[in-house]
């Protein structure tokens, strides 16, 4: 008898093991696992990671000096420019050219050690940047050029070769990306703060209704208790990302729908934590207050509130911290703030700027994490 039982067990366990292996095999297939690709695509990954690791942080104030020279394409279509012999000047190897002809361009007595931006100024005033080079200590540069067909003379007006010499003056200053990231981070932090605040205002009173030791008395109380509980549970089952997408379609994308989505999710989460804190209080003081003839509201204010304040504050700070992280993700679906900035930079292949945003997120999350842990430590 025992033997047959154990045989049955073996068969059952074997079947179970086979099922688990099958399930894992399906999972492997649908996920498209291909670890060798991690190695094969390393160069692609390396460039992105490098860009992320070299965030766009600083720029220098520069002064720009511009020299220019008319350059007809093709020859004879317009008057050629006069090549100077002294002062800051451009000297092309030819003074005019047929389309697609290659030539060299030299510059003399420009700003030394400067970034040189060479561009075509087209007849219709449009600008087409050709190449960037560096001038030496005498202010000299040379560059290989091509007479681009697009720069052909039109209406007897030739294109001009224009050269900007960008000379750094003064010290480093935060780049545009840094300023944009700070502004976006500002939005994110305060969006998280506001949604946490709104969620607290809604969740704190509701949490008392969802606390069994306060509400679960009599049939009405029990009904209210279960009703509030199930609302919290229902709201909690929606991911913030899904919620943000819904609000995003409703209110068009931006910080406001992101804030609403965060608030709703936080109400559910804080409500549950708060109600558990209320349920965890020492009932002794409540009994003592009841014995003095205090009414229910007085019991809550004098007996419950002092016991839950530290827990509540710690949960609120913790959720602010969490919400900063979530709102970063929400930004990717259009919720505004740093997440939105980051997704835009990634979509625009501006990986250095994206790197700036990622560093900012890492720093802020670490700081919030540290601060909230410190505050919670002090409270306990």
């Amino acid at each position: 008898m025992e033997n047959r039982l154990s045989t049955g067990k073996i068969i059952r366990n074997t079947l179970l093991a086979a099922l688990i292996i099958l399930a894992l095999g399906i999972s492997w297939n649908v996920t498209g696992v291909d670890f060798p690709r991690l190695i094969r695509d390393l160069p692609k990954g390396r460039n992105i990671v490098l860009a992320f690791l070299t965030p766009d942080l600083t720029t220098r104030e520069t002064t720009t000096t511009t020299v220019s020279l008319a350059f007809p394409i093709p020859c004879g279509s317009a008057p050629e420019g006069e090549v100077l012999t002294s002062g800051p000047r451009l000297v092309p190897s030819v003074t005019c050219a047929e389309p697609k002809t290659k030539f060299t361009l030299e510059g003399f007595d420009l700003a030394p050690n400067s970034e040189i931006v060479i561009r075509w100024k087209l007849p219709d005033e449009r600008i087409m940047t050709a190449i960037r080079v560096q001038s030496d200590e005498k202010g000299y540069f040379t560059a290989n050029m091509e007479a681009r067909p697009i720069a052909a003379t039109a209406n007897n007006i030739s294109s001009r070769l224009e050269v900007d010499a960008l000379t750094p003056v003064g010290g480093l200053k935060p780049s545009e990306a840094v300023q944009d990231v700070l502004a976006a981070m500002f939005v994110t932090i305060f969006m998280a703060l506001l949604s946490t605040t709104l969620a607290t205002i809604v969740a704190a009173p509701l949490s008392f209704l969802a606390a069994s030791n306060i509400t679960k008395r009599g049939p009405l109380g029990t009904l209210v208790y279960y009703f509030t509980r199930s609302i919290f549970n229902l709201l909690r089952s929606y991911d913030p990302l899904v919620m943000a997408t819904v609000f995003g379609f409703w209110l068009s994308f931006g910080a406001f729908p992101g804030f609403l989505a965060l608030s709703v999710v936080t109400v559910a989460s804080l409500g549950k934590l708060f109600s558990e804190a209320v349920e965890g209080i020492d009932p002794g003081p409540l009994e003592a207050l009841q014995a003095t003839g205090a009414n229910r509201l007085q019991m809550v204010i004098y007996g419950v509130v002092p016991q839950i304040v530290p827990d509540f504050i710690s949960f609120i700070i913790y959720h602010w911290d969490i919400n900063v992280r979530i709102s970063t993700i929400i930004g990717f679906v259009g919720g505004g703030g740093i997440g939105y900035y980051l997704s835009e930079r990634i979509n625009g292949f501006e990986y250095s700027k994206a790197g700036t945003a990622i560093w900012a997120i890492v720093l802020v999350v670490m700081a919030m994490d540290f601060l909230s842990a410190e505050v919670r430590k002090r409270l306990s």
Partner: protein, 253 residues
């Protein structure tokens, strides 16, 4: 006069904590309730101010039927009955003064009290109550910064704020070092001499002998003895507490 008549209590889980308990407490008595843990002492004390509703029986205080009082009447009855607890039941994070003032909630303006606003005369009353139990200087400390004995004195000061006619003391010294027992019970004795009826549950026989004007003993929810403290000798004590019980003397510590 407090009259307890045929009081029984059965909890929802079926535990029968009190079985047909009756006795009277005259004004000014120091009535001590003894019995093993689980014999129904706490339930009995809590039936008197209806922190627990008795399942059967009646409790009269003077001419008022405590058992049938509605919520508002009950609050009025309760503010005349101070209560002191084994675990002190202070709000630990609140100041001593706030804990003492909370004893006055049954009298206070409900709205002002919710905002934490107390008239100066109530604050003075609280400080006076603390002075009576010898810890006026602790008024602004947090309650959990005090020692056990001091916390129980805050508990007594809180009860004093009610200007009570009766004080219920549920094992007021069971959580304290035995050496502190007398100090706490002496405060209750002084209040008793001033005319406050005290109903107190105790474990130590020598404390019973020292303080009780009358004793009620409970065993398994039934009253097994009622009489003067002197009538309880070792034999009676063993009968109430069971054969294995060893008498412990608080004084021997």
């Amino acid at each position: 006069m407090l009259r307890i008549q045929h009081v029984s209590k059965t909890y929802p889980n079926g535990t029968q904590a009190l079985k047909d308990v009756s006795f009277d407490v005259a004004d000014g008595e120091f009535m001590v309730v003894i019995g093993l843990s689980g014999s129904g002492k706490s339930t009995l004390l809590r039936c008197i101010n209806r922190l627990i509703d008795p399942s059967e029986g009646k409790i009269y205080w003077n001419d008022t039927d405590v058992t049938s009082a509605n919520a508002a009447e009950l609050r009025n009855i309760r503010r005349n009955i101070g209560m002191v607890f084994q675990q002190f039941n202070l709000v630990k994070r609140s100041s001593v003064l706030t804990n003492v003032l909370s004893g006055r909630l049954g009298y206070a303006n409900p709205w002002l009290s919710l905002l934490g606003i107390w008239p100066q005369e109530e604050k003075d009353r609280a400080l006076k109550a603390l002075a009576r139990v010898g810890i006026a200087e602790k008024a602004f400390s947090r309650a959990d910064a005090l020692s056990g004995g001091q916390q129980q004195r805050v508990g007594i000061a809180r009860a004093l704020m009610q200007e009570p006619k009766i004080i219920l003391a549920d094992e007021p010294v069971a959580s304290l070092d035995p050496v502190l027992s007398h100090s706490i019970l002496q405060y209750l004795e002084v209040l008793n001499k001033e005319g406050i009826t005290v109903i107190c549950s105790l474990h130590f026989l020598d404390l019973v002998h020292r303080y009780a004007t009358r004793v009620v003993a409970l065993k398994d929810g039934m009253k097994v003895f009622e009489g003067s403290a002197k009538e309880i000798d070792r034999a009676k004590f063993k009968e109430i507490y069971g054969e294995e019980a060893q008498e412990v003397r608080a004084a021997s510590f």
